[in-house]
């Protein structure tokens, strides 16, 4: 083929997922995955989104038939893993999710989501804060501050919105010192644990979820979410493998 050695390209989504998996594996999280064409049960019911809950209106869903949807969040994997396992556990999943909404620079009908959760007898919001500090510090570089604001997601109680701020000398100028809204999180709702066969009086745990494209956009200064799925090689060629 070419006379010179070919450069090795790494798509930003692949690069980000690879790093996320490495960081969370070190913290004892197992990689999980589930189907993108998901049952209504795992996407909604098992996550405490009741049939008549207004939260079902909050996300516009692609339906395939009366009981199957394109999963609206990777959190459906969380519901599956809680059902499969007992007691203490830590899982991470990075997968594709779908929303039936108009696309623009920050919205896509398909996107990748990272979801992680940890369950134990005393796993608390403080552990969520610590875990996220470690994650963002390794993923984006520099020292990280995390802050919580009240948030609402049916599958957690309490629910929080997570903001992050990078401080330190190595931080890119565009990110330095700015609070950035980055994830949704909280303590798994007892109904979610109970549906998955876990005793909520004995065990508790946190869960978070967020868009991987958004993490990539922050990390590499990308301004349009649609380019990730465009197959545009002018984009992909800008991301070359390195250590």
């Amino acid at each position: 083929m070419s006379s010179h050695e070919d450069p090795q390209y790494v798509h930003p989504l692949t690069g980000a997922i690879r790093e996320i998996v490495a960081i969370f594996s070190d913290m004892g999280f197992e990689v999980a995955s589930g189907p993108e064409l998901e049952t209504e049960h795992y996407n909604f019911d098992a996550l405490n989104v009741a049939k008549d809950h207004p939260a079902r209106d909050m996300q516009d869903t692609f339906w395939v038939d009366d009981t199957h949807v394109l999963r609206t969040h990777d959190t459906a994997v969380t519901a599956r893993k809680i059902e499969e396992n007992d007691g203490e556990m830590r899982y991470l999943s990075c997968g594709k999710a779908y929303r039936n909404e108009a696309t623009d620079m920050t919205h896509e009908a398909q996107f990748y989501q990272v979801d992680a959760f940890a369950i134990g007898e005393d796993v608390s919001l403080a552990h969520l804060k610590g875990t996220l500090e470690t994650f963002f510090s390794k993923f984006l570089g520099g020292a990280v501050e995390i802050r919580f604001r009240p948030g609402f997601f049916p599958f957690v109680e309490p629910g929080v919105e997570v903001d992050m701020r990078l401080v330190g000398d190595d931080v890119p100028e565009r990110l330095k010192g700015k609070w950035i809204e980055i994830l949704g999180a909280g303590m798994l709702h007892p109904n979610v644990l109970r549906t998955g066969g876990i005793d909520p009086d004995k065990y508790q745990g946190w869960a978070f979820g967020g868009g991987i494209e958004r993490l990539c956009m922050l990390k590499w200064g990308i301004d349009d979410v649609r380019i990730f799925h465009s197959g545009d090689l002018r984009f992909i060629q800008q991301f070359v493998a390195g250590k």
Partner: protein, 644 residues
């Protein structure tokens, strides 16, 4: 929801920020709300008062979609008492009257209805203070009677409605409810006519069976209040949250009223609403309150929730003692008993979201402050987590292919054809789930081929995707590699050769046979392949990560390709030629690829592909021609240099 700072201040003893008993400045108030309660999207100045745009979370919509609700929250969070709190007053619908009758059809979704009958009102303009308050939050003033109902909705979060009593049939007005008939029509306030279905609840004039409002959504034109109205009936009723939502959705009529019913505002709020509106109308428009008539039941049950300081501390991850919890519950106006360390907590009637232990802990946590939660690391696990076999092999495949310079793409799952169709789709070319990756890969090859010089590719475009496909048999993860060879010479043969090399490299890495390529693609099922491969006890080192260069958006304009070949004296480097090219082409030169080099008779020939592209415009041949002429002229000027 728009919240007027000036209106909010009326609930507190002082209006001077900084003084005891006063709200802090709007900015400080917004910050407190953001970190302890709800989002504040912004603050704007409307005619001299600050208006906060508060985004109340769904679980707080029942109690917080009003000025009183936000005032109550501010009082809790800032620990300043309220000067007035209408919902803490005793309420009774007195006097009663039989000048109006109310009866409910149990099949309709209305569980309680109270009417107030006022005679002798004078419909007119609203006073300035009322107009200004409504206008500050984006509401138009209509007349004193209608404005009174709107005011109470934004003051207490309780929708009400007013009818002209003289537009009812019969001697005494009789209000009823029933389900609509399928296809029945009603003219609404504002003139629109809508067609109803048989699940929708109507308010009717029971003497004539004529519909006068769609329950929980909007009033009808039939008994509308106008400038001649003198006798009125004020409606306050409770509608089923889900039915209201479905009706509003079906009619595309989501109103301030329906939004509140959907969120299941407390039943008892109905009585506070009707009394507040009746009093305000008598104050603004005069008239005499004949009395109230009501039908149906109010559900006033409130959960008793048990929680201990230890449970709260364990969930939040910060030690919170009983004294602190007591003080927070008091600030929230939650009623509690303490028995042996167990708090038995009941929230005030308007709070519909306090039903389990975790709900109370959330209240404690957010009032206490999430900023006081320390960060703590999880214990280091004793063993490595189990390896996800499919992910591990997908990574091996990615690294093998990346190592050969093949670019990974991520493409769309929604396409114009496939085994499985969507019930609701964005567009007709995205109404199926893909049943293979090849179709998308082929499209990407087409796009890539058109851009080859711009990409520095002159032999072939080589890409791959790993993603899920959806077939009648099930959902599988596939791997698909695509190759497009440039030019037509021996195209098929070369394509098969390149795909064959890739297939061999993968088989060597995986130690397993793979299917043959067809045409331009090699696609296989990763789930099946993974089944046949051995378990792995560790992931490969995550060595291939992206390097951190900031991304530059690609130009949207077409590029122009020109080749140039130059004879130069032996010993002259290609970079010397490149320098001349760069000097004349400037920023328009996107690529400068040396593709041929050979020596003859003491001279060297260099040949380059030059790719020109502008970020601002479509480049003309003429413009590129000028640059090429300048490059060629300088080269020809040099001793022993020659354009080939």
């Amino acid at each position: 929801m728009k919240i007027s700072y000036e209106w909010l201040q009326t609930f507190f003893p002082s209006v001077r920020a900084g003084e005891e008993g006063a709200l802090p400045t709007p900015d400080e108030l917004a910050e407190t709300l953001v970190f302890h309660a709800y989002e504040v999207e912004g603050i704007e100045d409307v005619n001299g008062t600050s208006v906060l745009d508060v985004d109340v979370l769904p679980n707080r919509a029942a109690d917080s979609l009003s000025h009183r609700g936000i005032a109550r929250e501010a009082s809790t969070l800032l620990d300043i008492p309220m000067k007035r709190d209408p919902l803490r007053e005793d309420i009774e619908l007195v006097p009663t009257t039989d000048s109006v009758a109310v009866s409910l059809d149990p099949k309709a979704s209305c569980s309680y209805y109270a009417a107030a009958h006022i005679t002798g009102v004078k419909v007119g303009k609203s006073p300035l203070w009322l107009k200004q308050r409504l206008e500050a939050i984006g509401q138009k003033s209509i007349n004193n009677v209608v404005d009174a109902t709107n005011y109470v909705m934004f003051e207490l979060g309780r929708p009400t409605h007013v009818f002209d009593a003289q537009k009812f049939a019969g001697e005494n007005p009789h209000i009823g409810t029933r389900l609509a008939k399928r296809g029945e029509k009603i003219s609404l306030l504002g003139g629109d006519e809508v067609e109803l279905s048989d699940t929708m609840t109507l308010i009717i004039d029971a003497n004539s069976d004529v519909p006068i409002a769609i329950g929980g959504i909007k009033g009808g034109a039939h008994a509308e209040v106008d400038s001649n109205t003198v006798d009125i009936i004020i409606e306050t009723a409770n509608f089923h949250p889900k039915q209201t939502r479905l009706t509003a959705q079906a009619l595309k009529l989501r109103t301030d009223a329906s939004a509140r019913f959907e969120n299941h505002i407390a039943d008892k709020l109905a009585q506070f609403g009707v009394v507040a509106v009746a009093e305000l109308i008598v104050e603004l428009a005069g008239g005499e309150l004949k009395g109230y008539a009501a039908a149906g039941e109010l559900n006033t049950e409130q959960s008793v929730v048990e929680v201990t300081a230890d449970e709260a501390s364990r969930l939040l991850g910060v030690a919170i003692d009983e004294a602190t919890i007591e003080s927070i519950l008091e600030r929230l106006q939650f009623v509690f008993e303490k028995e042996g360390g167990v708090f038995k907590v009941t929230a005030p009637f308007e709070r519909r979201d306090i039903n389990i232990r975790q709900d109370v802990i959330e209240e404690i946590g957010r009032v206490y402050g999430y900023n006081k939660i320390p960060s703590q690391q999880l214990t280091v696990p004793e063993s490595e987590p189990k390896v996800n076999k499919k992910f591990a092999y997908a990574e091996k495949i990615r690294k093998t292919l990346s190592g050969m310079g093949i670019a990974e793409v991520y493409l769309y799952s929604l396409r114009d054809s496939g085994d499985i169709a969507l019930l609701n789709s964005l567009a007709s070319d995205k109404d199926h789930l893909r049943s293979n990756l090849a179709a998308g890969i082929t499209e990407s090859l087409d796009k890539g081929e058109k851009q080859m010089p711009l990409l520095g590719l002159y032999d072939a475009v080589r890409i791959f995707e790993i993603g899920n496909v959806f077939t009648n048999e099930g959902e599988y993860t596939h791997v698909c590699i695509g190759v497009r060879i440039a030019g037509t010479k021996k195209r098929e043969e070369r394509t098969q050769q390149v795909l064959g090399e890739i297939r061999n490299a993968l088989m060597e890495e995986l130690g397993e046979s793979l299917p043959e390529a067809t045409n331009e693609v090699l696609e296989f099922n990763l789930d099946e392949l993974t089944e046949s491969l051995p378990e792995l006890d560790a992931y490969d080192e995550a060595s291939l990560v992206c390097t951190g260069t900031a991304y530059v958006a690609a130009s949207q304009y077409p590029f122009v390709l020109r080749d140039i070949a130059v004879w130069v004296p032996g010993g002259t480097g290609a970079s010397e030629v490149k320098e001349i090219v760069t000097k004349h082409a400037g920023e328009l030169l996107k690529r400068n690829d040396l593709f041929d080099e050979f020596g003859k008779d003491g001279r060297v020939s260099y040949a380059f592909h030059l790719v020109f592209q502008s970020n601002e415009e479509t480049l003309t041949d003429q413009k590129v021609g000028v640059i090429m002429t300048a490059i060629e002229a300088e080269i020809e000027d040099k001793k022993d240099w020659e354009i080939r």
